[in-house]
Symmetry: D3
Subunit: 242 residues, 6 copies
Amino acid sequence: MAKPIAEKTRELLREVSAATITTQLFKRGLRNVFMGGLKPLGAKARPMVGEAFTLRYIPSREDIDVLEILGRADHPQRRAIEETPPGHVLVMDARSELRGATGGGILMTRLSMRGVAGVVTDSGLRDVAEIAELPMPVYIREAVAPLNLVAHHAVDLNVPIGCSGVPVYPGDIIVGDGDGVVCIPRHLAEEVAAEGWEMERKERFVTLKIKSGAPLFGTYPPDEKTAAEYLAWLDAGEPGKA
Amino acid sequence: MAKPIAEKTRELLREVSAATITTQLFKRGLRNVFMGGLKPLGAKARPMVGEAFTLRYIPSREDIDVLEILGRADHPQRRAIEETPPGHVLVMDARSELRGATGGGILMTRLSMRGVAGVVTDSGLRDVAEIAELPMPVYIREAVAPLNLVAHHAVDLNVPIGCSGVPVYPGDIIVGDGDGVVCIPRHLAEEVAAEGWEMERKERFVTLKIKSGAPLFGTYPPDEKTAAEYLAWLDAGEPGKA
Amino acid sequence: MAKPIAEKTRELLREVSAATITTQLFKRGLRNVFMGGLKPLGAKARPMVGEAFTLRYIPSREDIDVLEILGRADHPQRRAIEETPPGHVLVMDARSELRGATGGGILMTRLSMRGVAGVVTDSGLRDVAEIAELPMPVYIREAVAPLNLVAHHAVDLNVPIGCSGVPVYPGDIIVGDGDGVVCIPRHLAEEVAAEGWEMERKERFVTLKIKSGAPLFGTYPPDEKTAAEYLAWLDAGEPGKA
Amino acid sequence: MAKPIAEKTRELLREVSAATITTQLFKRGLRNVFMGGLKPLGAKARPMVGEAFTLRYIPSREDIDVLEILGRADHPQRRAIEETPPGHVLVMDARSELRGATGGGILMTRLSMRGVAGVVTDSGLRDVAEIAELPMPVYIREAVAPLNLVAHHAVDLNVPIGCSGVPVYPGDIIVGDGDGVVCIPRHLAEEVAAEGWEMERKERFVTLKIKSGAPLFGTYPPDEKTAAEYLAWLDAGEPGKA
Amino acid sequence: MAKPIAEKTRELLREVSAATITTQLFKRGLRNVFMGGLKPLGAKARPMVGEAFTLRYIPSREDIDVLEILGRADHPQRRAIEETPPGHVLVMDARSELRGATGGGILMTRLSMRGVAGVVTDSGLRDVAEIAELPMPVYIREAVAPLNLVAHHAVDLNVPIGCSGVPVYPGDIIVGDGDGVVCIPRHLAEEVAAEGWEMERKERFVTLKIKSGAPLFGTYPPDEKTAAEYLAWLDAGEPGKA
Amino acid sequence: MAKPIAEKTRELLREVSAATITTQLFKRGLRNVFMGGLKPLGAKARPMVGEAFTLRYIPSREDIDVLEILGRADHPQRRAIEETPPGHVLVMDARSELRGATGGGILMTRLSMRGVAGVVTDSGLRDVAEIAELPMPVYIREAVAPLNLVAHHAVDLNVPIGCSGVPVYPGDIIVGDGDGVVCIPRHLAEEVAAEGWEMERKERFVTLKIKSGAPLFGTYPPDEKTAAEYLAWLDAGEPGKA
């Protein structure tokens, strides 16, 4: 496994929106980075940032996927709960299939206890009311009550997967906020974080201008005059920022 | 109609989650019991438990489904509002079709006044803001403003139906919580309630352990040591339970 | 462009639900008026009423839809932000495609500043947490982080469009509440507003009756006795109305 | 059951296309009459005409839908095979669900032997290569190998159903050709047959004109001159008709 | 309107497959050029090549879209039939909506008589058996019997549209074969035709090699040895080509 | 890799339909074995039988999936073409995603040359007209012109996959006919082949009876009398069998 991303990158990304990251990646030729249709559980606005640790499911089979296997220490879903490194995000490829859940309250609580940075599944989870209370951000398609064995068979840990239509390689950087979840290829994380953070700062200034009545043209994107005002605003210590 | 389920069963089921019920039914060979994609209206966490009283719709036809029929005392939708027994759940098969609603504020208010235990539709309802204020739990796919006649023709009361892909026979036990709605075949209700309630209690203990830092393996599912601790916890009066 | 709708019509429509409007339009032979699947951003119950100003997108093309075009003063999406008249609703046809957003926080803030009455898109928006704080009602299918260029090319302003399956002609009256969004053909707005408002008042009375224990039959729709009670209630100044 | 439709009506409808029937029904205010997405098995262009005899399925349940029930004489699917009257069309409501078939080669062969006029299912059939050889027209969504018990439980015979989104009442007239299947409400069958047959004859003339180079305007729909030529063509014995 | 594409380009494209064109466009950064899910009517393998002439539909409205409008000379659908230039392909944006057709036998026959090069619709057509006999290639999603007014309102001629998710600008080059339909941006047509034709010739040679037992590696893509053999094959007059 | 299945099993399965196999697997508790929505290319009725050799795709990424990688000898898709053993079926998991193909004419020709028993993809292929001429059976969802890189990144060979919703483990037995494709778990292949073959023989007899006018009840399933006649028919050398 690659070494952890720099703490600085992680900190910057906590202040960059998923939307801004998609723009940064678009500039670099990447269009398919947003895991559409996934929503955060709970009202927490806390951003999620971490390296991807992946879990792959295939459809379940009645003679293999029986209750007994869930107690086995080598069951990939259960191993994922204990092996996802702290600070990483567990990302599950469950084929966007909603007839079975990909986890529930006890498993999510354990992940949260272990310091995992977040969970993303393109299927659903059970016990969502309980999970919504955890401090760990969790993104799902929708609540799904049935146990995973009804539909899913956990098969692989930390292989490249597709999650809600997006390629995710182990170690890629996963970021989530109120708009949903994006995946940053590992090798682009540092520059996307830096340039994205600058873009956020500029957009905060633009928003202040718009809120004070400025028209779109000239302000967004900024013309020369607005660009100069932006520099002055930076020099002045970003007055009015939230 | 079969005699009402025992009050004891109903009480137990109020403390058993939809998720746990699916596991109990899975153990008995039943996999397709969760009505996927239905969400509770309002933020109430109140569980819903009751026998199914069913209403079947077919697609509407312009020459039959005119406004006048809604005033007829033999219109099945209107009869359903007055005939669903108190303590039962009205379950509607509307083919998951969302171009017309399957009811609105006045009808839901009347059901609530009559002591009906809840409503489930695989289509939508109108006046959802008003309905979300009722004490009666209501599960829908999504808000749908148009009246039922645009898309639906009520045709049968209390026949076997499919609701969001799940078979529902009149008298089956319907349970709903934050994860959604499950259907328990009538003849399994008592044992699922009893065994499910025990499973919930055990999972409360497991959750306490996990929250205190225990790892998954050995705790969930419990090994012999954890099982013994569980019995001790029961003897001690379940300290720490919410 | 037609002259603005009468202020009286606008006021009446603020007190008529989307559901009631669909019934009024059904009586006039119109069935396909509800833009299904669109939800209001934020918890505000504020109704949305205004004439439609439309924006049409087609799928984007990599050699045309580059970041540079967003700064051009003739870009139709950017023009829509500055040209939607105050009191109008900007309605976007984005083919219900969710791989790219149709706007974000800065654009929505500018629309709100300009006094635009609301926004409806059959795709999604980015920065939804920020937009949910605006006083202007906004209806979307779901949150979508990527910029519009990933999927959409703005091509036309104020032409007839389809939005979530519903025909919308410029100047039609758009009304939104907790159930979603309906479109009233311009030439029907006045009579739908007047008759709809009366229907709402009658339904408030019916609801009071139902809440006091009246059965459905005789009350809804009202028989002669209930109709007489209704008139008496009106004479008495509508006691008990919320 | 109503008495059979007149043989004359049946004969006329064999020469009226599904497309023309939809136009005739549109003129009478009916828009939702086409069972979309169903295709004829085999290359036979033979039109299908007959009264609807219906079969309703709900989702199957593992403890009820076991192989043994297929041998029971009261199983509704099996009864449908022996009870659909000759000259009728068996129409199946299987919720457009494709995980299980709604019949196979042996059942279809028996229906064909019994003189049944055709079969329509909004799900699929198994043994499609064998069924395609039968003289009886059969319309399905697609080939589905698994037996019905995997997904379907036959529950009712000859009740009103929805089939591929269209209301079908027992006794309605079902017509199928290369475009698919339409349902004519029983009470409209005679006039739709007569007027539709005239419309077909007129369109044959129009087609001859178009094939000889006539432009659309003036020809279709016919202006006065073309209308006069049409009458002359009829007088002349319809020269050139296929 | 731009001047017609060179006859040479048109001839080359008749010998280049839709598949090869997508590869040529991928090399130029264009990924979304294939109108997925559209199938040719009839068994004709005849390739379709021509400039796009577009027709845009929005959803129909009951008070506007009545039978009478079809006879009006300014109805955009009818105008499209008489105005699509010979050698062009009529491409229809009907929102992939299948509840109404976008044309039928008479209209398609007239287009064929007028020398139009082909028709593409992302919805369906009626009278498909008749249309399959025409010499003009026609691509549809599936057969749809109901007339267009049930679902569609023709609104614009020759504006940029989306067709089955692909942007189509008037004058773009549309090519169809057994795999379906692709759209070549006008400014790339000449080079895609030339380079694509060369690629086809090379693939014919590769196919001959593979059919004679050559392994994939070294042959496809060709290594130096195979490349030399290819040149020798060209010098020898392409022996063995079909 | 497990040793090849017995030639006898393979021969029996060539005479057992996909439909019969699903019934045999249903008797053994397996319901999800049919890869719905896949159709054979070409009119060949030749059955397909072979062990599964699998290929897994994830979504493509613009910076990784460039044309150059297709020439690399370690590219998993290209390796699959040379490494699928003769007599095996190449089964591809491409997430049922249709924006890019999973192969074309040259690759399929090479597989056919190498004696591979068939190909199954839950996405599509390009060059379908050419592939339909090959002697090797091929099952796809639909024709897809664009190259795989547009949507797919080949990542793994011979791991467990999901194909059109069905679990497929390397070495499972894949059988296809006119109804589509089923997967037999390896350990059940022998008994399903033997019992299925017997069931086919019995159904041939039943079909002869039905074709001679026998009613369903008593014949299918056979009562004692029919069962005796069946034995006599076997003794007589199966007169009348096709």
